[in-house]
């Protein structure tokens, strides 16, 4: 059993961390409190505040790093202030400041690191850099109580199947090209549907109205998957549908009427991509021999994905864990939580020269000191 309280300061009865997240288009600030001792059903992390603001792009556009970074710069102080007020804490009660070190987009990451460094100097507090994916995993575990799950991490920038082994979160399978969220977003752009509240959400709503399954490529390679071919394929179908290319018999009847709708395309895309995800997750479960699955990341909110995963897991007599949008969409609280675990193990912050960010930062690079 790992001892989490070797560095508990005298006179303190708990630890508090503030976390700043801004690796993509969401800016999140969260404040968390841990009490000494291992986590259990009676000793849970306490969420004191968890707020977020999302940079929304015009329809048909992806988010530009420059505008996203500007969004983060211009909102971060307001969010931090609001977060402190919500928590009801005095600054002096905070133990450390945690920020997303990576992976993510350079400019938005940088703007948040600068905010974190500034706060650290203003308040004279240690700084902890956190791997974004580890943040998702640890927060998911804490919220759901999943003890040793296979983790499916699905978001705009990531698609990984992860399992813990020997103090690392090891990547069992991942995308060989684009991430699932990116694939859905890009198809949303092809369809020119709104980016609000999120492109993936809008695809999900359209898919609910679809019913006809159109066969798409299905590309699982071992435990890895590939999605760019599927995207290209369905983009072409959408193009032919919009431009009335009646020679395409997959989508047009002989009399020239369309066989399929945009909703059917969304439905088929989801069915195919999610079947691949569930399949790889099941393979990882069988391989590791665990009965638990935890879904984290923005795409994890998708109800169809959750239902498919649940069906698979129940067939294996297992347990599925998922969090709601407060925790599965990028947020500051997860950065605070994972950063605080790191802080409790080391008792100090990062050297100032290490308080930088990096666009590429693999999940399995982090030594998980707080688990056996």
């Amino acid at each position: 059993m790992v001892h989490l309280d070797l560095h508990l300061k005298e006179g303190k009865t708990s630890y508090v961390a503030i976390g700043l997240e801004g690796s993509a288009n969401k800016l999140g600030v969260g404040i968390i409190r841990h009490f000494p001792g291992p986590f259990s059903t009676t000793n849970r992390a306490e969420v004191l505040s968890n707020i977020r603001d999302t940079y929304i792009t015009p329809p048909g556009e992806g988010f530009l790093p420059r505008d996203t970074a500007r969004h983060h710069r211009n909102w971060v102080v307001r969010l931090i202030k609001q977060s402190i007020i919500e928590s009801g804490l005095k600054i002096s009660e905070i133990d450390c400041i945690c920020f997303t070190k990576g992976p993510g987009m350079g400019a938005p990451l940088q703007s948040v690191v600068i905010a974190a460094r500034t706060l650290a100097q203003l308040w004279d507090l240690p700084l902890i850099g956190v791997n974004h994916c580890i943040g998702h995993i640890e927060m998911g575990r804490e919220i759901t109580g999943a003890d040793n799950p296979v983790v499916l991490y699905v978001s705009g920038g990531n698609t990984q199947i992860i399992a813990y082994s020997e103090q690392r979160y090891r990547i069992f399978g991942e995308t060989l090209d684009i991430a699932i969220g990116n694939c859905l977003d890009r198809f949303a752009r092809t369809l020119k549907i709104p980016n609000e509240p999120s492109p993936g959400y809008n695809i999900e709503q359209l898919a609910k109205k679809g019913s006809k399954y159109i066969e798409l490529p299905y590309t699982v390679k071992g435990m890895d998957m590939s999605m760019s071919g599927i995207l290209a394929h369905i983009d072409n179908l959408a193009y032919d549908l919009f431009n009335n290319k009646k020679h395409n018999k997959t989508i047009f009847n002989d009399d020239g009427t369309p066989k399929v709708t945009v909703e059917d395309l969304c439905f088929s895309l989801q069915e195919t991509l999610f079947a691949m995800l569930v399949e790889i997750t099941e393979r990882a479960m069988a391989h590791v021999g665990t009965q638990q699955v935890l879904i984290v990341g923005g795409v994890g909110c998708n109800e169809r994905l959750q239902r498919m995963m649940e069906t698979m897991v129940l067939d294996r007599r297992g347990f599925i864990f998922a969090t709601d949008e407060r925790f599965c969409i990028d947020n500051g609280i997860m950065i605070a939580h994972a950063g605080l675990l790191e802080y409790r193990m080391s008792g100090k912050g990062f050297d100032y020269s290490d308080t930088v960010c990096t666009q590429k930062f693999r999940t399995d690079e982090v030594l998980i000191k707080w688990r056996d």
């Binding site: 940079y55 929304i56 792009t57 015009p58 505008d67 500007r70 710069r73 211009n74 909102w75 307001r78």
Partner: protein, 101 residues
């Protein structure tokens, strides 16, 4: 009083903020606005507070603008001189059509 210094082997420039009038202080930077893709700007910076920090914010915005402008100009000049050099080379050596790009 904040200031910024740019230095390289060939050039050193310092930017001051002491000359700034109250009316010149703003959080709306010339070089930190939205891109042309943004139609509705929801992400304007907030107005500066009437205190030391508000003052500091505005001055930093000013310094950032100055530095951004300087760096952009330098990059453009560099590109231009490189283009000129290449054009000159072409003129003197003839175009061998062996373009790597």
């Amino acid at each position: 009083m904040p200031s910024a210094t740019y230095s390289s082997p060939s050039d050193t420039q310092t930017f001051q903020t002491s000359h700034l009038q109250k009316s010149q202080l703003t959080t709306q930077g010339k070089t930190s606005g939205p891109s042309e893709f943004v139609k509705v700007d929801r992400d304007q910076p907030s107005e500066p507070a009437d205190n030391y920090y508000g003052d500091l914010r505005c001055k930093l915005t000013y310094l950032q603008d100055e530095l951004n402008t300087l760096l952009t100009d330098k990059m453009q000049a560099e590109k231009k001189s490189k283009d000129m050099e290449e054009a000159e080379k072409k003129l003197l050596d003839g175009d061998d059509g062996d373009d790597d790009e």
